[in-house]
Amino acid sequence: MNDIRSFPDATRIHRRPGLLRRKGLWIAALVVGVGAAGPTWMSAYYLGVFTVAFYFGVFAMSWDLLFGFAGEVNFGPTFLIGLGAYGAGLMNNAGLPIPLCLIGGAATAVVGGLLLALPALRLRGPYFGLVTLVAVLLLLDAIVIFAGFTGGEIGMMVPSVLSVSATVNYWYALGFLVVSAAILFTLSRSSLGLILQATGQDRTEAAALGFNVTKFKVAAFCISALFSGLAGAMLTFYQGTASVDQMVDLSIAVQIIIAVVFGGRRTILGGVLGAIFLVLFDELLRPIGQLNTFVVSAVALLVILLFPDGVLGYALRWTDKR
């Protein structure tokens, strides 16, 4: 338990020189620049694909904050996403304008995050994982039972959309992704991130060091819920519908988990890489039909068997060694 391998990231953070950080910043700026110029070299179809991938990236980052840093196995990220999406959609149907709906959706999700944080303070590991799973199943059931308001399994249409232009939607999504990534990445590298890691790895010891474990855990849940819910609400207004298949279903939760593990857990940005890879891969494999889920899962399984740190984790370790 106490060997140094248990704390790989603690050692990495201390060894990381300022130069690499700056290099990382340059790379990030370059990637964002190329991304922002997307509409000049991509067809409208692929703009749509990337727009979805970007929202997916935010889902993945929010999940990584809970899983990678706070050490909470949350099988129900879609509980938070669904609350944001349906909260915002219901408000929009009641006649509120989009900005208010986005705030309302995010607030609904944060309330959901608090609900999840309650059992997380009492339960550990698989027990908590199951509660989150149950939360998703109950939300699914609630959506189907109140089909009169929510549209049930068909999905709920919303009267407003963010924009009708693929380019504008693409920029909204990219902007949202970049801002969320910047905030979440900074948080994860701040003392909050370190304390969360410490509580995730050894709660008792972290508490003995004088940190208020409860406060930090609740904060992590609220932040994760805020971004998940906001992304869910934005996705709803991009697509014009809130749907069970695309926002609440357990298969979406599984894809988020795959994206983070593939990209590299405990890196925040790895989740974005994983999400974009997953969505693009899905497009490429469309010709083989229903087997594409099989191939994607098999690739993800191979990655965790051979490179358990994920693509970004592996790359970081490699640059550290050099």
């Binding site: 698989p126 109950l138 599984v254 899962s297 098999a298 965790i304 068997l305 740190d309």
Partner: protein
């Protein structure tokens, strides 16, 4: 009358759930592995059994035998391809092994589900009953097959009890669940014991899959729900506690049956979920679990 009907149906369903969950909990108790591909393995057993019975004329008993065998093979593949490499990987810190096994078996379960969907489509199939016809129990018409299923379940659970408590290998299993290091120091090879557990697990999951297929029918779309219900039962009963799982299986079985008969069949899964959440708040270690 309806009370009696609920009593009988709930008992059959509870017994079936019990057999489905016992292997899962045994696996966790001895090997510390939560196998999220559990539903997938039951699915393979049910579908392959049906395929052998219908397309190859193996008949209901032959089909059941082939299905159980398929469950055993699927269990070995899960162990050797997914779980053991993860347990032996040097790149995974011991503290995170559990999370990796959860993720790995989850992915493997999805692969099984999609693969079965591809091979057999997602139409539900029902294995023909092993005992056709109905019988009358205190005025309730009950399919003979339902009675047979409950009997088979209890015979198997009884055999498992004898195996664990009365045989040498069973005592080794118990010891491994209490103190694996002590067992290793006494000169027992843990990997052999793990292999035995995976064999027992495969047979139990296979049997549960086959019985499920002949009672409710199975479809490749069920894999996730099957895993979730086994997981629910096992957590409710207390992870690693076999008697706890059996009690929980009946609690869930009856809760579902009562809802289906008295409220609405569509609400069937909801009370079980609520019971689970409440129980975990009051008793986080489950009904009969140790902390």
């Amino acid at each position: 009358m309806i009370a009696l009907q609920i009593l009988i149906d709930g008992f059959a369903i509870g017994s079936l759930y019990g057999v489905g969950a016992v292997g899962f909990t045994l696996m966790f108790g001895v090997c510390g592995v939560l196998n999220l591909a559990h539903g997938g393995i039951m699915l393979i057993a049910g579908l392959v059994g049906w395929w052998a019975a219908v397309n190859h004329g193996a008949g209901p008993y032959g089909g059941a035998a082939v299905g159980i065998l398929a469950g055993l093979v699927a269990s070995y593949v899960t162990y050797f391809v997914v779980v053991r490499p993860l347990q032996r990987s040097r790149a995974i810190p011991k503290s995170e092994e559990e999370i990796f096994i959860l993720t790995g078996t989850l992915l493997w379960g999805i692969m099984i589900q999609v693969g079965m969907d591809y091979l057999f489509s997602d139409n539900p199939v029902t294995l023909q009953p092993m005992l056709p016809g109905v019988m009358n129990i205190f005025g309730v018409r009950t399919p003979r097959n339902e009675v047979l299923i409950a009997v088979v379940c209890w015979v198997v659970i009884g055999l498992l009890y004898l195996l664990v408590n009365r045989t040498r290998i069973g005592k080794q299993l118990l010891a491994a669940s209490i103190n694996p290091r002590g067992l290793t120091l006494l000169g027992f090879e843990l990997s052999h014991i793990y292999l035995v557990v995976w064999s027992i697990y495969g047979l139990l999951a296979g049997l549960a899959g086959v019985l499920l297929a002949s009672f409710f029918g199975v479809s490749s779309a069920n894999a996730g729900a099957l895993t979730a219900s086994a997981f629910t039962i096992v957590i409710l009963g207390g992870l690693g506690s076999v008697p706890g799982s059996l009690v929980a299986a009946y609690v869930i079985g009856y809760a579902e049956t009562i809802t289906a008969y008295l409220i609405a069949p569509t609400l069937r899964p909801i009370p079980a979920l609520l019971i689970l959440v409440l129980a975990l708040y009051v008793r986080p270690q489950g009904l009969l679990g140790r902390r």
